[in-house]
C-alpha cells in the first residue's frame, strides 16, 4: 500500500463531508519555530463520538492537542479550528476552555499551596465569570465535588491535598479526569492519559471517562498504544504520521496497528 492510497482511504471518510461537527479542523498547518510539525490536518468530530489519534513518536500528536488548546509555543500558519462554529484560533487558551475545550495533560503541573478543591473552584468560577454569572454557591460546589469525586472514585482526603504535589502518576491522571468531570467540557482531549499507568489505574481512569461520555460531548484520545482503547472504545481511529492523518478507520484499525506496528502504514 502506498502513501497515495492511504490518502485516498481518508477521502471517503464520511464525516468530512456531512457539514461541520462539534469540532472541525481544516487544513491545519502549525510550526514550532521554523519547523513545520502539522502539515495539513483535517478532522471532523461530532457530538457523542470518540476519536482516537494514534501515531509514532514525533508524528505531531501532542502538537495537535496543544494547538487545539491554544498553547502559544506553536504558530498556526494555515487552516482553521472551529468549535460549534466558533473560530478557536482567535481565542486565548482560557477562552477556549470557557467555550468547552478540555485537555488532559500528559504531565500535569504541581501547584503547592493550592488544594485540588481551591483550584477547581477557581477554574469553575473563572468560567462562570466569563459567562457573566455569579460565583457558584459554596454548597452547590461542594455537592458537585462530592458527586464527581464519587463518580471518578477518588477519596475525599485527596481533595484537600496540594494540586498534583507529590501525586503518583495514577493520582495525577485521575485528578485530570476529576477536573474534566467538574468542568463538563464539550470537547475533551486526553493526551497520552495512559502513559505511566498500571492496568488498575488505567481501568479507573477509563471508567471515569466512559461515565462522562454523553450525546452532547466528544472525546479525542491521543495514545501511542492500543491498550487504553480496550477500555475507551473509539468510534474512529486516525493514524497520524509526519504531521498528517494518513489513515482513518474504525476501532479495528487500532488492533491492526498494535499487531503490525506503524511501519506498514507509512
Amino acid at each position: 500500500m502506498t502513501k497515495q492510497n492511504n490518502k485516498q482511504d481518508q477521502t471517503p471518510f464520511p464525516l468530512g463531508r456531512v457539514g461541520d461537527g462539534l469540532l472541525s479542523i481544516k487544513n491545519l498547518h502549525a510550526n514550532i519555530g521554523d519547523k513545520e510539525i502539522l502539515k495539513g490536518i483535517d478532522l471532523n468530530i461530532k457530538a457523542g463520538e470518540v476519536h482516537a489519534i494514534m501515531g509514532p513518536n514525533g508524528s505531531g500528536k501532542t502538537t495537535l492537542s496543544s494547538v487545539i488548546a491554544g498553547r502559544e509555543d506553536y504558530e498556526v500558519t494555515k487552516g482553521s479550528i472551529r468549535l460549534d462554529g466558533t473560530n478557536l484560533l482567535e481565542l486565548a487558551p482560557e477562552d477556549r476552555a470557557h467555550k468547552g475545550i478540555f485537555m488532559s495533560f500528559q504531565y500535569p503541573v504541581a501547584i503547592p499551596g493550592v488544594t485540588v478543591t481551591n483550584f477547581i473552584k477557581t477554574a469553575i468560577n473563572a468560567k462562570r465569570k466569563a459567562e457573566g454569572k455569579e460565583d457558584m454557591p459554596a454548597a452547590e460546589l461542594l455537592k458537585m465535588i462530592r458527586e464527581k469525586a464519587k463518580l471518578i472514585g477518588i477519596d475525599r482526603s485527596f481533595l484537600s491535598r496540594s494540586l498534583n504535589d507529590g501525586f503518583s502518576g495514577g493520582e495525577k491522571k485521575r485528578n485530570e479526569i476529576f477536573q474534566m468531570a467538574m468542568l463538563e467540557p464539550k470537547m475533551a482531549i486526553l493526551d497520552e492519559t495512559d502513559s505511566g499507568l498500571d492496568i488498575d489505574a488505567l481501568k479507573t481512569v477509563a471508567n471515569g471517562v466512559n461515565k462522562l461520555r454523553s450525546k452532547d460531548n466528544a472525546v479525542i484520545v491521543i495514545t501511542h498504544y492500543q491498550r487504553l482503547l480496550e477500555y475507551i472504545v473509539p468510534d474512529f481511529v486516525h493514524v497520524l504520521s509526519d504531521g498528517k492523518i494518513v489513515k482513518t478507520g474504525g476501532k479495528e484499525l487500532a488492533l491492526e496497528l498494535e499487531a503490525k506496528g506503524y511501519e506498514w502504514i507509512k
Binding site: 491554544g70 487558551p93 482560557e94 476552555a97 503547592p112 488544594t115 477557581t122 469553575i124
Partner: protein, 430 residues
C-alpha cells in the same frame, strides 16, 4: 560628621561608656559604603542625600486608633507596644509587668532592678564594629524590652509597632529592642514599621534576642512600608541548648530595606529557622544578609528565602553559614529562590559556607528564573485567566514560607497583602 548624644536617658556611667565607645566606633568606621564586601550591591548614597533629623518632632496630637487600626492584627488577644515618632504611646499600647516584662527599654535601662539584665545582655551580641549598629548603640533612646521568665508559655503574641507621622523634616529613627526568653518559655512576636508621613523616613533598628535553654521564639517582621520609608534592620540572636528560634521576614514594601540577621548557636541541639519573602516592584531594593554561626555540636539551621521581583526592583541575598570545628553533626540547609517578572529586575544571590567540622550536612541552593510557562498554560487551559494564573503561581511560590506562619490571623494578613500586591482576589479559602 559628628553627632552629639542628646538622646540618652540613662544615668548609669557604665552604660554611658557603652554609648561613648559605640559613638567612637561609628566615628571611626562611618556609614558602610559599597567598598565593603557585604555592601557591594546596596548603596546608601541616595539615602544620605536626605537631611535626616535625628530627633523627630513629637506628634502634635495623639495618634488616633482609627489612623493605625488597620495595621494591627485583629481577632486575637495580644500585647501591644506602640511607638510614634520614636516615642512610646501608652494610649495605643497594652504592656505588662505581670510576672513578665513587656515594656520600654528606657524603663529597663533606668531602673535598678534591671541592672543585671542591662549588664548581662544589653549590647552583648550586637556588632561592636559595624557602623550602623554602633550608631544605634550610641543614639538609641527607646525601644522594646521583653523579658519572659522561665517556664512561661505566652498565650498572646506580642505586637511591636513603630509608626512615623506628621514630620516636617526627614527623620532618622533608631529603635533598640532587647528580648530575653528564659528556660522552657515560649513567645511569638510580630514587629512592624510603618510611616504615615510623606517625608523620607529611615529606621536604623537593632534587636538583640536571647533564647535560653529550650526556649522557643517565633519572630515575624512585616516590612510593607510606604515608598518614602527605608529600613536597616540588624537582628542578633543568641541560642542556648535545645532552643528554637525562627525569624520570618516579609519584605513587601519600602524604598530600601536591609536586613542583617545573625544567629549565634551557643548550645547544643539548637535550631535556627530563617525564612523570608521578598516581593517588590518599582525601584524598590531589598538586601537580606544572613549569618548563622554554628558553634556547638548537633545544631540545625534551616533557611528559605523566596523573592519575586517586578518593575525595576533589585534584590540581594547573601547567606553565610559558619560551622565551627567543634560543631560536629551540624545540619545546615539554605535555599534562595527568585522569580524575575521583567527584564529590568536584578537579583544578586550569594551563598557563603565556611565549614571547619568534618561530620556535617550542609546544603545550599539558589534558583533565579521566570514563571513556569507550562504551569501557566496548564492553568489557562482550565479556564483561569492569565493574570489570575500568574497570581496563583506566585502565591504558590510564596506558600512554602507562608504556610509556616504559626499565628493564623497573621497568616491570613500576609496572604491578603500578597494577593493585593498580585492585583487579584485569589478567591480561595486560605
Amino acid at each position: 560628621m559628628a553627632f552629639e548624644n542628646k538622646g540618652s536617658v540613662e544615668t548609669d556611667t557604665e552604660f554611658h561608656k557603652v554609648r561613648a565607645t559605640a559613638m567612637q566606633q561609628f566615628e571611626n568606621v562611618g556609614f558602610p559604603t559599597k567598598k565593603i564586601e557585604d555592601w557591594k550591591y546596596t548603596s546608601l548614597k541616595e539615602l544620605w542625600k536626605n537631611e535626616y533629623s535625628l530627633f523627630p518632632e513629637l506628634p502634635k496630637h495623639e495618634l488616633e486608633l482609627s489612623e493605625v487600626d488597620t495595621y494591627f492584627l485583629k481577632g486575637i488577644d495580644s500585647y501591644k507596644i506602640v511607638f510614634v515618632n520614636g516615642v512610646f504611646s501608652s494610649y495605643l499600647s497594652e504592656t505588662s509587668h505581670d510576672g513578665l516584662d513587656i515594656c520600654l527599654l528606657s524603663t529597663a535601662i533606668n531602673k535598678l532592678k534591671y541592672k543585671i539584665i542591662r549588664e548581662h545582655f544589653f549590647n552583648r551580641i550586637a556588632s561592636k564594629t559595624e557602623g550602623l549598629t554602633s550608631l544605634n548603640t550610641a543614639f538609641a533612646s527607646e525601644g522594646v524590652f521583653i523579658h519572659i521568665p522561665k517556664n512561661t508559655v505566652l498565650q498572646k503574641p506580642i505586637q511591636i509597632f513603630y509608626f512615623t507621622t506628621e514630620c516636617k523634616k526627614d527623620v532618622l529613627l533608631q529603635p533598640r529592642n532587647l528580648i530575653i526568653v528564659d528556660e522552657n518559655s515560649q513567645v511569638q512576636i510580630v514587629e512592624r514599621h510603618h510611616s504615615l508621613s510623606d517625608k523620607k523616613i529611615l529606621n536604623n533598628t537593632v534587636t538583640e534576642i536571647f533564647a535560653n535553654k529550650r526556649a522557643h521564639i517565633d519572630y515575624y517582621k512585616i516590612q510593607n512600608d510606604n515608598k518614602n520609608a527605608s529600613l536597616i534592620d540588624s537582628t542578633f540572636v543568641e541560642q542556648k541548648k535545645q532552643s528554637e528560634v525562627s525569624v520570618t521576614t516579609f519584605s513587601l514594601g519600602g524604598e530600601l530595606t536591609r536586613n542583617n540577621l545573625s544567629f549565634y548557636q551557643n548550645g547544643a541541639h539548637a535550631n535556627s529557622i530563617l525564612n523570608g519573602i521578598t516581593m517588590l516592584d518599582g525601584t524598590q531594593h531589598v538586601d537580606n544578609q544572613t549569618n548563622v554561626y554554628h558553634q556547638q555540636p548537633n545544631c540545625e539551621s534551616h533557611e528559605l528565602y523566596k523573592g519575586i521581583y517586578d518593575g525595576q526592583s533589585t534584590g540581594v541575598f547573601n547567606g553565610k553559614v559558619f560551622v565551627d570545628q567543634v560543631a560536629q553533626k551540624t545540619n545546615a540547609y539554605q535555599q534562595n529562590d527568585n522569580i524575575l517578572l521583567t527584564d529590568d529586575t536584578t537579583i544578586n544571590s550569594k551563598p557563603q559556607l565556611e565549614i571547619f567540622a568534618d561530620d556535617v550536612a550542609c546544603s545550599h541552593g539558589c534558583t533565579i528564573g521566570q514563571l513556569d510557562k507550562d504551569a501557566l498554560f496548564y492553568m489557562r487551559q482550565r479556564g483561569i485567566p492569565e493574570k489570575e494564573a500568574k497570581a496563583l503561581l506566585l502565591y504558590a511560590f510564596t506558600n512554602e514560607v507562608v504556610k509556616n506562619i504559626k499565628i493564623p490571623v497573621l497568616k491570613s494578613r500576609i496572604t491578603r497583602i500578597i494577593s493585593e500586591k498580585l492585583g487579584v482576589d485569589l478567591g480561595i479559602d486560605l
